[in-house]
Assembly symmetry: C2
Homo-oligomer: 371 residues x 2
DNA sequence: ATTTAGCACTCCATTAAGACGAGTGCCAGC
DNA sequence: GCTGGCACTCGTCTTAATGGAGTGCTAAAT
């Protein structure tokens, strides 16, 4: 009896079984496996081993007289220790390179990456937009709309343009807005949004303290203040206040680009309409998916969620292969592929891996000429 | 014999049949119809009439011993002349009003409208983004990225921010860009993008003519030129050239917001996976849908495509109820509902109608205070 | 001249039964 | 510890039978 729980042979057998199941989609029986396996073993022996693997929770029989199918734990063991990753095919690599090459118009790199993933894997591709906090502010601009409504436009990382409407406490003239923008640009340009937010808060706090200290005597200039003239100083404070509104928390509506969802409609394991509906609803509600992807951002390198591991019902029959991508050695986002649990991990993993690296490179501001 | 092809009675019968079919989803037989119908008619008589209607191509039997189902022409006749539109229920109307009320942050009105449509009708809602050409330019801004790459940011209609990267023929300093923007803003602000594009082309053409006339003698100022100094004039020409690049054709990537696609997965007539896949693929490829919606923009008021009428295979089993929406008496976009041919037209039509009107009102720049 | 009742007929949907086959579990022998 | 053999299970496929909803046609009724 295979009392020595997981010997080499049973692992090889599990590997063969998973591979077979992934390529066929049919529960695999002892006979089929016996033929697949290099080692000469009779179906009966294999049945014994399979029974052991089933006891360990790595396999599962749909019913008495069907073959075995890997469980989530079975897949997990497989991807963690048994999998032999296949290098990308030349043509796919070329495709990725040409799609994600550093070009002048990299305005839709995220979309391109997502489309490439879905196109090449024939599953769904997903790419999160770069986390705003981790991204560099390049330029900020204010534009008066009406009365106290001000449109804030800011550019990050060479290409992305964001905008938001804020309400100011008083009415500003275009010149004042211009001045405020100039000031903010001179101080904060080039720093990460996160840093800017902190600096802004800090600034406001210091000001608060000064106010209390010098109660009323606003003609005296506190030291450490860069501004030369009092009225100027007042203007700058307004600028900082506006910056605070602009970079407010909650501003970061994380989002992602998902493509090739329709590819998922071909898979038999997702042919159940209710399941599929749940999955697509999760896609459009977004928050669940975002949360899941956020988890992947912590670790870098390729990460995999198999079936129920994700913790989201809608993903019960799906796997998610992700990798974070970095700009300037800083992790800014995640991309990945969504497909049925029964997917060709050994091919998908390198796809995701390479795409993440290329996307990071393409987004790198250093590779495009600085101002 | 009902030789007088479409008498009042047969029309009433058709109406009853369509209504019954819409609410049941089952082919409707003569007996059921006889009960539904106010008039006392035996099933046999009804059978005769139904046979006539079938000859006219208004009805169709799935098979010998099933009831009848309306054909596309049947539906068409129904919606065109038989339909009695039901007014919106109070709660739905309230919902629309509160969702589409004029608020300060109407940045995502389009999305809100789409969500409302899908939520209230339990089908898919679609709203096109306002046509750029028909929308007013409010402000333009240039931002130098690197060398000849310039980011153009322009705001239209109070709220929408667009951006595009253009390549200029020479390197401009920030000051030059600022000047160019100022000039363009002073001349073109408030005019429709379409008008601006034409004016710009005109300007360039005139300049061209001037150039040929005065070949080389650029010290002489041609009359009709507003600029006072030659170098200034040169700068303005650059501005116009940049404007041309910015408002280039092909820039108008028409787009739409589609929500509630998942609602479509519940309908039995779309439960066929292949069909559904085709439909969803059409949704993500967009161009087909855009073309279809564009057609609806020509006519104003509610417009309906039933099944194959749309001309797109993917929509064969769907109907599309649309209405254009206008800002400032100018049609700028289209919104609508997509669902199975068997939909409650009498309810959907007022939904679409009212939503279009409210959206138009909410987007109207006049209703928000001007600068 | 319509309308109606009656009747034979068609065709789908459901159910039941049987045959098939893939695969298992277990046992006894190698 | 591995293997062959064997009985058994269970899903799938095929076939046949039954029931019912609905039609088309014809002949009688209005």
């Amino acid at each position: 009896m295979g009392n020595q729980v997981l010997n080499e042979r049973s692992l090889q057998l599990l590997k063969a079984l998973v591979e077979r199941y992934i390529s066929d989609g049919q529960p695999v029986g002892s006979r089929a496996l016996s033929k697949d396996l290099g080692v000469k073993l009779s179906p009966a022996t294999i049945r014994n081993v399979m029974a052991d693997l089933e006891d360990l929770g790595l396999l599962h029989s749909p019913h008495t007289s069907a073959g075995r199918v890997p469980t989530v734990s079975g897949y997990r063991l497989f991807v963690d220790t048994l999998l032999t990753v296949k290098p990308l095919e030349a043509k796919d690599l070329t495709r990725l390179y040409q799609g994600l090459s550093v070009s002048d118009d990299n305005s839709d790199m995220i979309g391109v990456a997502s489309r490439l993933l879905s196109e090449l894997t024939q599953m769904a591709g997903v790419v999160t937009l770069p986390k705003r906090e981790r991204v560099c502010l390049r330029h900020i601009e204010f534009l008066s709309l009406s009365n106290t409504r001000v449109l804030v436009i800011f550019v990050t990382n060479e290409q992305e343009v964001h905008n938001k409407i804020i309400h100011t406490s008083k009415v500003f003239s275009p010149a004042e807005l211009q001045q405020a923008a100039n000031y903010l640009n001179s101080i904060y340009s080039g720093r990460s949004l996160d840093a800017v937010r902190k600096a802004v808060l800090n600034e406001l706090q210091e000001d608060q303290e000064r106010m209390t200290k010098l109660s009323g005597t606003d003609l005296h200039l506190p030291e450490g203040c860069r501004a030369a003239k009092p009225d100027m100083n007042k203007g700058l404070l307004d600028a900082v206040k506006m910056a605070q509104l602009a970079f407010d928390q909650g501003n970061d509506k994380d989002d992602y680009v998902l493509t090739g969802e329709t590819n998922l409609m071909g898979f038999s394991e997702l042919s159940d309409m209710d399941r599929l509906k749940q999955l697509f609803e999760a896609f459009s509600q977004k928050q669940g998916v975002i949360h899941l992807l956020d988890q992947c951002m912590k670790a870098d390198g390729v990460q995999i969620f198999i079936g129920e591991e994700s913790g989201y019902r809608a993903f019960d029959h799906c796997s998610l292969v992700t990798s974070s991508y970095s700009v300037d050695d800083q992790v800014v986002g995640v991309l990945g592929v969504i497909g049925p649990t029964r997917m060709a991990y050994e091919k998908i993993i390198p796809f995701v891996d390479v795409t993440a690296k290329l996307l990071g490179a393409a987004l790198n501001p250093k590779s495009t000429a600085p101002l």
